[in-house]
Symmetry: C2
Subunit: 584 residues, 2 copies
């Protein structure tokens, strides 16, 4: 196979056009084979095989620098830059990450996992090149779905300012993760239908030069286009039309489902992932669909990731105008939600924890200064969620809980979650965020509480000497810790559900002083700026001792959650040991 001979991009240049086509087929087969066994980003990578070959055929990486937006289409690039073994041989599958990674290769310049950043990052590389008086091309590769993000649009606007070489390859497969939303996609359609000739052209309007490639899966056309822009001294867009999932029929037919895949049966495309039973995504969509029927002002909002709260195509259709996808544009999702709430509606924005951090200023300024009653459902905020460094969900507590006026809630059971969601939709006083647990736990009892009486924690077990404040998804750990503490020390601890991440139950904490010596906090997030530190501050001037359990402030990557818990001393046994020591 050709691919076995490719040690670096220069080997690509040695192949003739026919061999390049064969190489593409080999890469595609390897991708389908590996992804069927390991899962990963499927559709975007399959669509970019030819373009990646053509890029490396024409340009000279790493002197010419290619920046892949969001990295969902960087696998072929990895195969052509010394990392083919990680795609060809099962024993090496784990050698590379799913994202571009400078630690793996000199052909990668940034670790990237969030969308819409490539153009601005590439502008920086180009600026450095120019300041240093060096040559070479800088190339940003960005999918059409990523274009709706503000940072990408800022980048398109800024790029012509460089007045220097910058090549932006727009990989237009006519899909975001789900379908695209936004006016610019009408323009992309017009450009596709007019073979790039339409005068109404978003890229030209931003001051960019423009080249159109009708068949972005045809290597020859791509090589010709890339050659035509190599070493230009301005910012130029090469708009290539590719097919998402190309070469694997099920993926060509069901583009949304095949954006990312779990391991699957290659013959029929059926997922090999076990049915996971009850999950909060589908339960949330069903709950909201039910509420929508009673209340026409309720609208579910997504920023390009409808699956996060269970809105598949069918449920989106059922919701109709009560479902709003703003495209990958988290900032606008927050502003839109604030506006809807201001106008008397009930917006519910579902978002992954790793992406909520794209909206700090909108949460603060657009939403919380205005105290509009929007609801944010923050999913996958846990060490047990995604474990790639770019997609961690453990930084949300410092981010959300320190914004004034935002009520940030941590339910433990399913009943508590839906009770909180219910309240958040009824009330008109507060912006509310809910940290949706990863695991569904059925509560023993129905929940009857007015969550509007803020910052009142729940005492689940009344003991003495030691109190354990176990936040949200770490409540089960708190229960086990209490058992272990009692077993080792004989002391029966008080066990508390704090419920409110954004505020202290000062009455309860004050009361604990009378017969408690140690207060323990457990949180499924980093310690710095988090919940436990607020408790430590509260007790700072008292004789009550405080032990905070959570994660160090660091960027973890591809870890096993249990390992992290063990290394952080967050196990019932370790906690009980610490307490026992401190009680001596």
């Amino acid at each position: 196979m050709y691919i076995e001979q490719i040690k670096n991009p220069y080997d690509v240049k040695k192949l003739n056009k026919e061999a390049l086509k064969t190489l593409a087929a080999e890469i595609r087969n390897a991708l389908i084979n590996k992804l069927s066994k390991r899962g990963g980003h499927f559709g975007p990578n399959l669509g970019m095989v030819e373009a990646t070959i053509a890029l490396h055929y024409v340009f000279d990486s790493p002197k010419d620098k290619i920046v892949f937006d969001v990295s969902h289409q960087s696998y072929a690039h990895k195969m052509l830059t010394g990392r083919k073994d990680a795609f060809l041989y099962e024993e090496h599958y784990g050698d590379v990450s799913g994202y571009s990674n400078p630690k793996e290769s000199e052909h990668d310049f940034f670790t990237i996992g969030h969308t819409s950043t490539s153009v601005s990052l590439a502008c920086g590389l180009a600026k450095a090149r120019d300041l240093k008086g060096e040559g070479g091309n800088v190339i940003a590769v960005i999918g059409d779905g990523s274009l709706s993000g503000g940072e990408a649009l800022e980048g398109l606007d800024y790029a012509p300012e460089l007045k220097s070489n910058l090549i932006i390859v727009v990989n237009d497969n006519d899909m975001s993760i789900a379908e695209n939303h936004g006016g610019l996609y009408e323009n992309l359609k017009l450009l596709r239908e007019s073979d790039g000739k339409a005068e109404r052209n978003i890229f030209k309007a931003f001051g960019l030069e423009y080249v159109f490639v009708k068949d972005g899966n045809d290597i020859n056309s791509l090589i010709e286009a890339f050659k035509s822009v190599k070493d230009v001294n301005k910012a130029v867009v090469v708009h290539i039309c590719t097919e998402k999932g190309k070469g694997y029929t099920p993926a060509e037919q069901s583009k949304e489902a095949w954006h990312y895949c779990a391991p699957f049966n290659m013959e029929n495309g059926k997922s090999l992932a076990k049915a996971s039973g009850a999950d909060y995504a589908s339960m949330t969509a069903d709950y909201l669909l039910g509420k929508m029927k009673e209340d026409k002002t309720l609208v579910a909002v997504t920023s390009g990731t409808p699956a996060v709260f269970g809105f598949n195509a069918e449920k989106r259709k059922e919701a109709g105008a009560q479902f709003a996808d703003v495209g990958i544009a988290e900032e606008t999702a927050v502003a839109l939600s604030s506006g809807v709430a201001c106008g008397g509606g009930k917006p519910v924005w579902g978002v992954y924890s790793t992406f909520v951090q794209r909206t700090f200023d909108q949460l603060s300024q657009d939403l919380c200064i205005n105290k509009n009653p929007a609801v944010i459902l923050n999913f996958w905020a846990s060490i047990y969620a995604m474990n790639d460094v770019t997609h961690l969900g453990i930084y949300d507590i410092p981010l959300l809980s320190n914004i004034p006026n935002l009520v940030y809630l941590a339910p433990v059971t399913k009943e508590e979650y839906f009770s909180m969601l219910d309240w958040s939709l009824k009330q008109r006083e507060h912006p509310v965020a809910i940290r949706v647990p990863v695991e569904v736990i059925n509560g023993a009892k129905p929940v009857e509480r007015d969550w509007g009486v803020l910052n009142r924690y729940g005492v689940e077990q009344r003991g003495q000497d030691v109190a354990v404040l176990a936040l949200g998804s770490f409540y089960g750990l708190g229960e086990r810790a209490c058992t272990a503490i009692e077993a080792i020390t004989g002391v029966k601890p008080t066990l508390i559900k704090p419920y409110y991440i954004s505020g202290l139950d000062e009455l309860l904490l004050e009361e604990l002083k009378s017969d408690h010596k140690i207060v323990v906090t457990l949180e499924d997030g980093i310690l710095d700026g988090g919940f436990g530190e607020k408790v430590a501050r509260f007790y700072g001037s008292s004789s009550v001792k405080v032990l905070n359990y959570g994660f160090r402030k660091e960027f973890l990557d591809r870890f096993n959650a249990e390992d992290v818990l063990n290394e952080s001393g967050i196990t019932p046994e370790a906690i009980a040991g610490d307490i026992s020591e401190l009680l001596k």
Copy 2:
């Protein structure tokens, strides 16, 4: 005067065209008069007088809802919506804020002070209207300078998705705060020069309908244009060309200087503000200009606010290609800086604390995961800086100090600041942010320290029992607190400059345990998620007591800093009192 008769927008509708012109002149006079005495946003407000009159003549506020981006052009609106007295009569000048404010009037829908949010917020109002089946127009007014912000561009993209009434008035005065930067401004120029007829049209490319008004200071043209779009059932842009500072010659001639003004002499336009002596803005620009000459890879980066670090037009010219203004696009400023650093250059981004919060995700993902050595100078991070609720600088510590890999420094003296800046430019290991003090304090001694040995605090006075960790701009307070503590208790405290906001000097803190009973932290920011809480966590399991001084998590508005300090118990006397009590 007509203006004295305007109680609400309906009174505007009663006037004939000639009277409307007179009204415009009256409003402009009142604005110039008030602003000469009180200062405020000058140029943008003067340019929007006619358009605001025309908006209220044609539309029916508050049924029709007008959202003013950034509020820099909302003064005439305030005058026409029941708040004229605050502009006409000196005794009422303080009755209104400088920003749109729902607490003041039913004609304001959001408190807004950051740019680029109006379109997305207006989309939300429109969505709520449609969900409720109501009618009425929703109008976003946005300046050309604000268009470069990602959130605004996202909003332009999303607006056509509503398939419903949304009117976006683009107030094009051909200026941002300084001159505009970005490719879209070439397009605005083309549209102005072609009377809106050019086929290359950024708004149409986003799928928006488009109406052009050549003279945006001509009431008749404006009324005609607004009438033509009233009650349309789609998203439409009305592009009006106005003159920034219109009606006051000095402001027409020096648009950047007159974006905002301090009180001035109306006769000659000369500022009445006292010359403020040494300031870090101009010292920083001069320092960087010096460094640029030695190092051609150093680039100063701004996101539309060059004045923040002293780069006036002359200094920008001197810096040439080593100064980069990305337009109001903070996210791109961070990504660009990361890219420049990755490419071997030395970027220094100067930013106001209130705007650094627009970049959390870029700081985390684009910059800190990649550990690129960019430098961020964070200005006006203090209770003594801006005091409008939308422009507070006291939330940066929770934001910046909890991001892994970012070194966040707090200098006290001028010598420390420049020593840190020097180090941050030399090293290639860390992204570094510096919290630039508001007040310039000359140090008694030169600074010789390797800031690369992270998290080593400075012990300025060695005492016992009590240690005071006085961060950055609160160091002077720390000194005074020590004096007061000693006076009251007879105990001479240890006084420490923590220097590193993002990390604890664990060795020193551990050592303090041996002969200290109380550790005090002082920080010029909110307590929640801040520096002091980390110290409280550190000592949580020990017998050392910790007292944290800082501000409550709340949105303050138009306050006197000394009042806030007094109310928060952050005075030398109050602190000494607390210590004395605790030592008993």
